[in-house]
Symmetry: C2
Subunit: 336 residues, 2 copies
């Protein structure tokens, strides 16, 4: 226990991360300070978000520096403790990074029960991926019983939890996964109502057939071709929790199609885009009229009209409105 191996970022990848983007190093095993512990990494979690950290651009979290260890979460065992809350042999959830040993303040570690469920579940179904599925589905997706929830990477840790929680809440769950074996797992073991193989040549048609009433909630974690097939199936008032875009993480932006880059901005800045038509807020009309009438009377809400004369003017007024030629509300005086 004197040598610590660790993977550091050797260079920033272009496209798919290659072996030469990483370098393994040996360093001395560090010693914990007062209130800290030394832990041995047992099981390291590998997650899609790590690709983003390899880029120079800061997203919602800082980039990994060149020469610094790759970040990551692990189930780890306490080897040395300088805090009474933890003892050697205890299992903890720790931000070890990609290395054999790490030190951390004891108070920042979550102690794990070694027995049931297995500690590694803290890295998925009872950890960050499960939490992601639970929060995104229930707080943003808000599926009602009987609604259709679609999720891609359905055999993965986030997708599998999304579909199962959707069913627990009474919704229909349709998964998308790569290959027949994963699809069989999704419908068999996980109990989804359907699963479509994204590699099928008629993928979009199969997805449409599996969602005969359309899609109420699409939990987005992949982007790309799957998103393209989903968009035409989204029902009015559908919700799209935008959790990840893994199919795009290796892309070098931007091409002539700016959809991918825009969706990435929505994700990393946690932006809400919500289409609406005024009739959706019909119930708000009395409140609007009451408030706005007072504001108009007080001069706090001013208005301007751009009036054309004669019914014959209507077509050219419309063409002007679409060009932005009007200065104030476009009106046609038809009679007096």
């Amino acid at each position: 226990m004197t040598v610590n191996r660790r993977w550091v970022l050797a260079r920033r990848p272009t496209g798919e991360p290659a072996a030469a983007d990483f370098r393994i190093e040996e360093t001395p095993v560090p010693a914990p300070g007062e209130g800290g512990v030394l832990v041995r990494t047992l099981v390291l979690s590998i997650d899609p978000y790590m690709r983003g950290r390899m880029n120079a651009t800061r997203s919602y979290a800082p980039a990994v520096e060149i020469g610094a260890p790759m970040v990551g979460t692990a189930v780890a065992r306490v080897e040395v403790s300088r805090d009474p809350a933890l003892a050697p042999g205890d299992l903890v959830l720790a931000q070890t990074g990609w290395q054999d040993y790490a030190t951390a303040p004891a108070r920042r570690l979550r102690k794990l029960d070694p027995a049931d469920p297995p500690p590694s579940t803290a890295l998925h179904v009872l950890g960050m991926p499960g939490h992601t599925a639970y929060a995104g589905l229930l707080e943003i997706g808000r599926p009602a019983p009987g609604e259709t929830v679609v999720v891609a990477a359905a055999a993965g840790p986030v997708g599998s939890a999304v579909g199962q929680i959707a069913r627990i809440k009474g919704a229909r769950a349709v998964g998308i996964a790569g290959g027949a074996e994963k699809c069989a797992h999704v419908t068999g073991t996980l109990g989804f109502d359907a699963c479509i193989d994204r590699r099928a040549p008629d993928f979009a048609a199969r997805l449409a057939a599996a969602c005969p009433d359309g899609i109420d909630v699409y939990f987005e974690n992949v982007g790309g071709a799957v998103f393209d097939a989903v968009v035409p199936l989204l029902k009015p008032f559908a919700r799209v929790p935008l959790c990840g875009l893994v199919s795009q993480y290796n892309e070098t932006p931007p091409g002539p199609d700016r959809l991918a880059a825009t969706m990435r901005t929505f994700l990393s800045n946690r932006i809400t885009v919500r289409g609406f038509i005024v009739i959706d807020f019909a119930a708000l009309e009395p409140a609007f009229l009451a408030e706005a009438s007072v504001w108009v009377r007080d001069g706090r809400l001013r208005w301007r009209e751009d009036v054309a004369d004669g019914l014959e003017a209507a077509p050219r007024v419309l063409a002007g409105v679409l060009r932005g030629d009007n200065f104030g509300k476009a009106l046609v005086r038809v009679a007096t």
Copy 2:
């Protein structure tokens, strides 16, 4: 009062509506049925949504048929009434369409006060455009005092109400308009904090300078180049009420850039897209762990792991995760 002139849709436009897309017709003035009224159109409102109704594709509302009168709302005067609630000479808000006369059930008409404010305000600041601004800004945008609200077409009926209501609620209002005269109106008469001319060659830089802390709410009603300049300025947790995309209404879809078509789908289907990162829901973690632990114990929430052996495997496991090769949660067993 025997001839009714009306504009009908002669053919569906390609791009900007042309004169030949419309045809003026003369028909007999219709007679109202029991409970109905005959109204004379006085002031007809021309609005961007009309362009969408000229397309064959059904959006949130049905298309205007070829040969049918163009739809529209007007301030109208009752000429003949077969309902005691309205008398000849009364002013009403009516869906007359683009024509001199129309009939309607009396109960579907909003009676207007002829005096103050002017009846035509029911077509803008105290009508549908004002209601649109009020609902979209306050229900979706939800600006907090001190936040920055940006709106385009700021001299128009929706944009002018958005910015003024934003200021009434204590937010900063930055408008975008076409030309110096409109901008002067927006900052002068309407009292916005700033207004940027969208035709300025350095438009994007000027917008950024007017929003030094970024944008909290972007009320989207134009799309296109304005949206492109706004996206990089959106702050984390920004809200984008997606009300209209007038710069795109004349476009013939779709080109290689699918952003415009996708935004149009979000709008017409009133879709909510909301980016999120699990740490935004840190407060939900205890509830997640409590519920999910029970579900895992009961076998209602199942999980699967895909474990690679040895720290040296980490880079190739990450590459596989990004390709979707893993089947279950990707983990690296580093030690036992």
